[in-house]
Symmetry: C2
Subunit: 307 residues, 2 copies
């Protein structure tokens, strides 16, 4: 499925991990970019990207990659976004669009916007997609179909620029939703950040058990624990940055969660079976809503129009 004319002449990808390399593959598959310029900080990773044939040009110099690009997609961990924006400042051509794939959006705007020259358009984005693997070899073109990408342009952002970024994601097969950065960060705090924090925490609790029991935790992990280890297998640097950047929203939902867990703890201690059964029944109903919303099917077809 290729388009008559590519959506972009020159796309610059900075950072070529799971998401960056999946985007490169998807853009190639769907003919969305005439030229894909790839830049990343590590020579080893860049060589791997070239070996995999992910782009059309490769450089360790982000400024060189961004030179003349219609679209720059920053796919680094969020902690590196400010430095990347600074480094490409002088290379950006007027009218260039800058986007990213970070999991927290208010800070993207805080970290990137001040370092951009006038006349370019920032359209922050977040594809809700991923696997437990990382690095350029972990990506694949079909990561996005049926998944959502959320765009969080601020008021006054050029409507055409937003539309072009939207068309990019639709072209990769994703559904697209637009919301404010603050709202995005609150929703993701509960749907993604808190679940990951809890999964990391319980896996670490198990890891600190005495050796004999730890061995058995591995052996008998099929009973629930294994699902947590999968959630807790994401890139540690990426997740560190998520919690450092979405601190307030995460601490807020963590506070609510701790209250609810404490109430369950008290019910167990007091032997209050009715409270436990009611809570569990309510939670089961939420599962039903998700199944009804077809969110249980990993690869549903996108319902947005394709470019």
């Amino acid at each position: 499925m290729t388009n008559a004319a590519p959506l972009f002449q020159r796309v610059c990808l900075i950072g070529i991990g799971l998401i960056g390399s999946s985007l490169a593959r998807a853009m190639k598959l769907h003919g969305l970019a005439e030229h894909i310029a790839i830049s990343t900080r590590s020579a080893e990773t860049l060589a791997k990207a070239e070996e995999l044939g992910l782009g059309d040009s490769y450089t360790l110099d982000a400024a060189a990659a961004a030179q003349g690009a219609d679209l720059v997609i920053i796919c680094t961990p969020m902690g590196a976004q400010a430095a990347v924006a600074k480094s490409i400042h002088d290379s950006l051509k007027p009218g260039a669009i800058i986007t990213d794939v970070g999991s927290v959006k208010a800070t993207t705007i805080r970290d990137i916007a001040p370092h951009l020259p006038g006349g370019v358009h920032l359209v922050p984005g977040h594809p809700i997609a991923g696997t437990e693997n990382s690095g350029p070899e972990a990506g694949y073109a079909e990561l996005f179909p049926g998944r959502w990408t959320i765009l969080t342009p601020t008021e006054g952002t050029d409507a055409d620029a937003v539309e072009k970024v939207k068309q990019l994601w639709l072209g990769c097969g994703a559904n697209v939703e637009i919301m404010t950065p603050e709202h995005h960060d609150r929703v993701l705090a509960i749907t993604s950040h808190l679940p990951h924090l809890i999964a990391y925490s319980i896996v670490d609790t198990a890891d600190q058990l005495e050796d004999e029991t730890k061995k058995e935790v591995i052996t008998f992990s099929a009973s629930g624990f294994r699902d947590f280890t999968r959630i807790a297998a994401g890139d540690p640097v990426m997740w560190r940055d998520v919690f450092l950047t979405n601190r307030d929203a995460v601490l807020e939902v963590l506070g609510r969660f701790t209250e609810d867990l404490t109430a369950l703890q008290r019910a167990i201690r007091k032997g209050d079976g009715d409270m436990l059964e009611e809570t569990f029944a309510r939670a089961r109903a939420v599962r039903r809503s998700i199944i009804d919303a077809k969110q249980h099917i990993p690869d549903v077809k996108p319902n947005g129009d394709k470019s």
Copy 2:
């Protein structure tokens, strides 16, 4: 794959939900019982079991089903085990073996053993297998292959009786491990009970959000939360009984988990990125151990010998 002579002449299944009906199907498939007598408390469920052809005889009277059985398998929620044991007391023939499938084992022994007549053998068991569905129509014969069943006979239990229950599970394709009931309950508290409690808790936290955000939690659930809803979709009555019966072990690991989560919370509040990254990296290594132990493959072939 049928055996020359069935392992048991008459097996009585009391309770015919997900696990009971899967056992019935597996015993039939593998020719492990000459006659399967099914009893359950609800007339509707019993009719469903008969309609599905799960056994050879059906009765609402547990005592009648247990009459003359070589093996009685109690597959009810744990809260009903004591009453079931009392009701079949007078029907059990000398030498009969009694087992169960409850998720907590110390209480199985406490609830069932006192109600059994002399000359019968109690071999408590726990198949670590399940799905988010419940009821007789949810079971399937292939639920057990590659999964573990833990048997927790107390000291002095007849070795032949333990061996026959072991052969039953091996015959259904499961791996079998033997340990003390107390050790079982500690291991399962961390691998299964705590993960389920936490999943129920976070799903309930999300359920209490204002309506607008709740709708978005459903829509964007693919980012971690969805996995929790699957874990939190088990039968509420069964899980209520797990927490009421394994109270001490669950409260103990819950205390450790809360400590660990509080430490992560403090690191987020203080912006301690090093602590977060180190914790996340350790958790990722646990995932690696599980993959190495092949626990990530849902249907690995059993490595125990088959009868």
